[in-house]
């Protein structure tokens, strides 16, 4: 039973109101050695806010329990030829190429800070997450900033530091000297066990590694080679690294003055001396520190763009890469919806702008851009202006956690689903803001309706998501996709009758959250003119429909990610897919096809059904959806708890036949029947003139 416990993690997390989750999943940087065994002690060189940085830290893997010999699920990106083995003989062996590793065991972290012993033990139901090579945007940005010549003192010296109050400045990253060719050569000739000798690394010789780098790499040169980080390592030498500073050192003084803050360190260069003496402490074995004194040159200190500017530019670029396709997606969904609705209503639809009218969204957007931005006289000018942006931000942020493929994800957050639910709630704030600030009663009614609607329907949607999260044991979107398979019976849709039910609960609730018919009450044009955005015009107006249609895409993406297997290719395991770029592309295509199919269903529903009334909409949610969603949740838990896994797996196929193929056959028959009726009506040839 033990092994199944970790599936309840999200529930526990929620029960602890999300606060307790931070402790066990804290990322630990730069871990060595590579083989982790029961009782092993691992020295942590750097850590984040959970630990007191710089203090000697020990983490102990207490009791490695296996999950029936199956492979460890590794969220995040796997690179190159990496294999992750999870041995049945309770031995965790890794050739580490991934930077995030879930260690399914209790982990104890011990620290001694100012003579006081601190001890954290992770929950036994929790996966401890080791972040070995943080490939975060921040790190990449740091690298990019320090590569640019003409940066501030820090990038010139090749240093990244963090302030340690009361101690000094700890070097978190340092641009070092690495001869990549040599490393690769060494790798080719290295023995199978992956060890590299000092001779092979040619330490001290011209073109060879320096000893400090070798110390860092000695046990795991494979990981460095395969982590692809090496490609990103800067070519040039860092001034500080040449002088002998290392990562982990704590700079305590520069130019004779203590360096408590980064500004102190920079100020030390405002001198006429040719060199600046820098004193640092270096962690040694045990709790000891050794003193290091180096001299750094004063001349040649560049001045120019501060590296935070470069960092900000880098982040903006990253944001642009994520955000720019989103309006295009929204626009294409708009055109597609118009075309489908036209087809359904015996019309032609947009066919003028661009090939077959597919650029209509561009023309509409440009037109709206050129319109006057009217703000009603009595409107609240600030809230009225802010509101469209909030809606925009709420939906766009969801793209952060959408896994388009194993690699194509902006941030695989370990609270992915929570993030998704919370950022989508921003939209309701925007709608209320827009509705209220317009100072129009129709807008206000629309805003109020949507507040009631979206807040209500978030509950069944979240509980439906929760039943999926309990199956995976993770809130990370990548883990959820990875836990499913390519074949339909591997999808969570057919996991059990309860998840099948949860699918419909989630999908319908998502329609309600996205203000789509039959839940388009907030903008019911026959009742409220245009609802909350009645008073908007121009580009501000255009953001609301844009958000609505992007949301349609998001609904499709989230649903297919959670219930329909996401980017999994039938017959290919997630590990195989992780290792191959082409398979990644195929997976991306499969994910898109699933999304498009769901978007079609959403559009189809919209152009078929009438609208609910407010009280009916609320009844449906509170009287039916919420009880059913909780029943689904409990049912899913019971299912996972009571039935042996083998039975569950066998029954999946039965559900696929019973709940999937059965209704599908009935549906096809129905369509055939309708088509035959349609032929009898002979509508196409109807001519009476």
């Amino acid at each position: 039973m033990k092994c199944r416990c970790h599936r309840f993690l999200p529930l526990l997390l929620l029960a602890a109101s999300c606060g307790g989750s931070a402790a066990p999943s804290a990322p630990i940087r730069d871990l060595r050695p590579t083989q982790i065994e029961r009782g092993d002690k691992i020295t942590v060189e750097a850590a984040n806010s959970l630990f007191t940085v710089g203090a000697p830290t020990t983490i102990i893997l207490n009791d490695i329990h296996t999950d029936g010999g199956s492979a460890v699920t590794i969220p995040g990106r796997a690179v190159g030829r990496t294999r992750v083995l999870f041995d049945a003989d309770e031995r965790l062996e890794k050739q580490i190429g991934v930077h995030l590793i879930d260690v399914p065991t209790t982990v104890t972290v011990e620290q001694e800070v100012q003579g006081q012993k601190l001890r954290y033990t992770s929950s036994p139901t929790d996966k401890f997450k080791l972040d070995l090579f943080p490939r975060s945007l921040r790190r990449m940005a740091d690298r990019a900033a320090s590569k640019v010549s003409g940066g501030t003192i820090w990038s010139w010296l090749g240093l990244t530091v963090e302030e340690m109050p009361g101690v000094g400045l700890r070097i978190t990253d340092i641009v070092a000297r690495i001869d990549k060719d040599d490393l690769f050569r060494a790798y080719e000739t290295a023995p199978i066990d992956g060890r590299i000798t000092a001779q092979e690394a040619r330490i001290g010789q011209p073109g060879g590694m320096d000893a400090a780098e070798f110390a860092r790499l000695d046990h795991n040169h494979n990981q460095v080679l395969e982590a692809a980080d090496i490609e990103e390592l800067p070519e040039e030498d860092g001034v500080a690294a040449q002088a002998g500073l290392r990562r982990g050192d704590v700079i305590v003084s520069a130019g004779g003055k203590p360096t408590q803050r980064t500004a102190d360190f920079a100020a030390a260069w405002e001198t006429d001396e040719p060199e600046v003496a820098v004193k640092a402490k270096r962690p040694a074995a045990g709790n000891a520190w050794t003193d290091v004194t180096v001299s750094l040159p004063r001349y040649g200190k560049p001045s120019g763009i501060p590296d935070w500017v470069i960092w900000a530019l880098f982040m903006m670029l990253a944001a642009a890469i994520v955000a720019l396709p989103v309006p295009v997606i929204g626009g294409l969904v708009v055109v597609w919806e118009r075309k489908i609705s036209a087809y359904m209503q015996s019309r032609i639809g947009p066919n003028r702008v661009g090939p077959a009218g597919w650029l209509q969204w561009l023309a509409d957007g440009l037109k709206l851009l050129m319109k006057e931005d009217v703000i009603p006289t009595d409107a609240d000018p600030i809230l009225f202006r802010i509101s469209p942006y909030l809606a925009f931000v709420g939906v766009f942020l969801v793209f952060m956690v959408l896994p388009f493929s194993g690699w194509l994800i902006v941030a695989d957050l370990n609270i992915g689903l929570l993030f998704l639910l919370s950022v989508t709630s921003l939209v309701v704030v925007s709608i209320i803001m827009g509705g209220w600030s317009s100072n129009s009663k129709w807008s206000l009614l629309g805003g109020m309706r949507s507040a009631a609607q979206i807040i209500s329907y978030e509950l069944p949607a979240s509980v439906a998501l929760l039943s999926i999260a309990t199956q995976t044991g993770s809130l990370s979107t990548v883990s959820i996709v990875r836990a499913q398979g390519g074949m339909p019976w591997d999808w969570y849709l057919f996991n059990s009758p309860f998840t099948f039910c949860a699918f419909f609960i989630y999908f319908i609730s998502a329609l309600a959250e996205g203000n789509r018919t039959p839940f388009d009450l907030p903008e019911a044009e026959s009742e409220l003119v245009a609802g909350y955005f009645t008073e908007y015009s121009g580009f501000r107006f255009s953001l609301f429909p844009l958000v609505e249609w992007v949301n349609v895409f998001v609904i499709g993406a989230v649903t297919s990610m959670l219930f329909l297997g996401g980017w999994n290719i039938p017959g290919v395991s997630a590990q195989q897919q992780d290792a191959n770029g082409w398979l990644q592309a195929v997976g991306f295509g499969i994910f898109l096809v699933k999304i498009i199919a769901l978007i079609f269903v959403i559009i189809w529903v919209r152009w078929t059904l009438p609208r609910f009334r407010v009280d009916q909409m609320m009844n449906l949610c509170w009287k039916y959806f919420i009880p059913i969603s909780f029943a689904c949740f409990l049912g899913t838990l019971m299912w996972a708890w009571l039935l042996p896994q083998a039975v569950q797996y066998g029954l999946r196929f039965a559900w696929f036949i019973l709940l999937g193929l059965g209704p599908l056959v009935l549906f096809v028959k129905r369509v055939q029947y309708n088509r035959s009726r349609y032929r009898d009506l002979n509508l196409q040839q109807a001519q009476f003139s």
Binding site: S341, M344, Q345, S346, R347, K441, W442, L445, M448, R449, T517, P518, D520, L521, A524, E525, S526, E527, L528, V529, W607, T608, L609, P610, R611, F612, R613, V614, D615, Q616, R677, D680, L681, N682, A686, F688, S689
Partner: protein, 378 residues
């Protein structure tokens, strides 16, 4: 004690909403002053008159025959019956005769126009409830009727087809067959619409038991036509105050049965119109059959039309009993003309029935009463 109790209105919780005259679902230019508590309405006071064009006064300034095009504007959705009412009233006043073929053509054009008017009513109702697709489907059928009526009289909306003493033109050659072909096409489609809209669960939920108008209320507030029949009152001018050739035609008068809720709810008002489609189609078949046996004469044009006295005529229009009263003083113009229309009467009951409904229900109620703005104001 009484000072301590302050009314709800005084508490400031009530909001006054102005719906219209420009509002997507007021079906033209109508204004409602709504008093609501959030979504629940306390009252919706109709404010009519935004489309008043002094039609009755114009009647006093034109010749009897010259007024015929203006009657199209009394109710532009179902212009034929307005034509018919005026023609009948003047014929009664002037004691004129209409050839049998003319009467049949009047009935055929009336019934075609009734079907197309109900098309608008039902489609607009579905659209007000939030379903846009049925509206497009139904309007496609209405286009076919417009094609047929265009071939008959050259106009698609304001027909000006009926004349004092007959109709303007005979059927063009082949028109009867095309009309029959259209009927063959339209009859099965009625069931399709039924499947698409009337039996839709959401649609029933929105309309059943909403704004129930009992038979007494309907009669008391002067509702006419389908609105009256939906409340279970079995009255149809075509059958009970027979005119034209209706006595020769067999048809049923559908009344509301409360199939999905109570008798006289919005769904009944919807469904009565669907059933009227079927009856109209029945009438059309018989009329198109019987017209073959008539003389070719379709219009006896009055040589001198200077009647004296007064007369009135009642016609079952799409929106119910349309009455036209006309008084002549021996001149070429009417001394006084008066139109009594169904929509105007239906407006009165909205104020009563909207109490306690939701804002969305008001839209459904207006749509179910099939109100056409020019018919209210004239």
């Amino acid at each position: 004690m009484s000072e301590m109790i302050f009314t709800y209105e005084q508490s400031g919780e009530e909001m006054t909403l102005n719906m219209g005259p420009q509002h997507p679902s007021t079906h033209g230019v109508i204004r409602f002053i709504i008093k609501t508590d959030g979504e629940i309405m306390h009252e919706a006071i109709p404010d009519v008159g935004y489309l008043h064009r002094s039609i009755e006064h114009i009647a006093e300034k034109c010749t009897y025959e010259g007024f015929m095009p203006y009657t199209d504007r009394v109710d532009y959705v179902c212009a034929m019956t307005a034509n018919h009412t005026w023609a009948m009233a003047v014929e009664k006043l002037g004691d004129l005769k209409v050839p049998e073929r003319g009467e049949y053509l009047r009935v055929i054009s009336d019934e075609l126009n009734r079907v197309s008017s109900h098309c608008i009513a039902l489609g607009a109702m579905a659209m007000d409830i939030g379903a846009t697709t049925p509206f497009m489907y139904i309007l496609r059928e209405r286009e076919y009727i417009n094609d047929l009526l265009e071939q008959l009289c050259g106009a698609r909306l304001t027909y000006n087809y009926h004349r004092v003493g007959g109709v303007g033109w005979d059927m063009p050659s082949g028109w009867r067959d095309r009309c029959l072909k259209w009927i063959d096409h339209f009859e099965p489609i009625i069931d399709e619409y039924d499947r698409l809209i009337a039996q839709n669960e959401l649609f029933i939920k929105r309309l059943a038991n909403l704004a129930v108008i009992t038979g007494e209320e309907a009669a008391g507030y002067g509702l006419v036509g389908p609105n009256l029949r939906a409340s279970g009152v079995d009255f149809d001018v075509r059958r009970d105050v027979p005119y034209s050739v209706y006595p020769k035609l067999k048809f049923n008068v559908p009344i509301g049965k409360g199939l999905m809720g109570q008798v006289g709810d919005c769904w009944d008002r919807y469904y009565v119109r669907i059933e009227e489609w079927k009856e109209s189609v029945k009438i059309l078949r018989q009329a198109l059959d019987q017209i073959q046996a008539t003389e070719p004469d379709f219009w006896i044009r009055p040589k001198k039309l200077k009647p004296k006295g007064d007369a009135h005529a009642r016609v079952e229009a799409a929106r119910g009993d349309m009455l036209c009263y006309v008084a002549g003083d021996g001149g070429t113009n009417a001394y006084r003309a008066r139109f009594r229309t169904g929509s105007f009467n239906a407006m009165k009951i909205i104020q009563v029935k909207s109490k306690g409904c939701m804002v969305a229900d008001l839209v459904a109620l207006i749509a179910s009463l099939d109100i056409v703005a020019p018919e209210i104001d004239r």
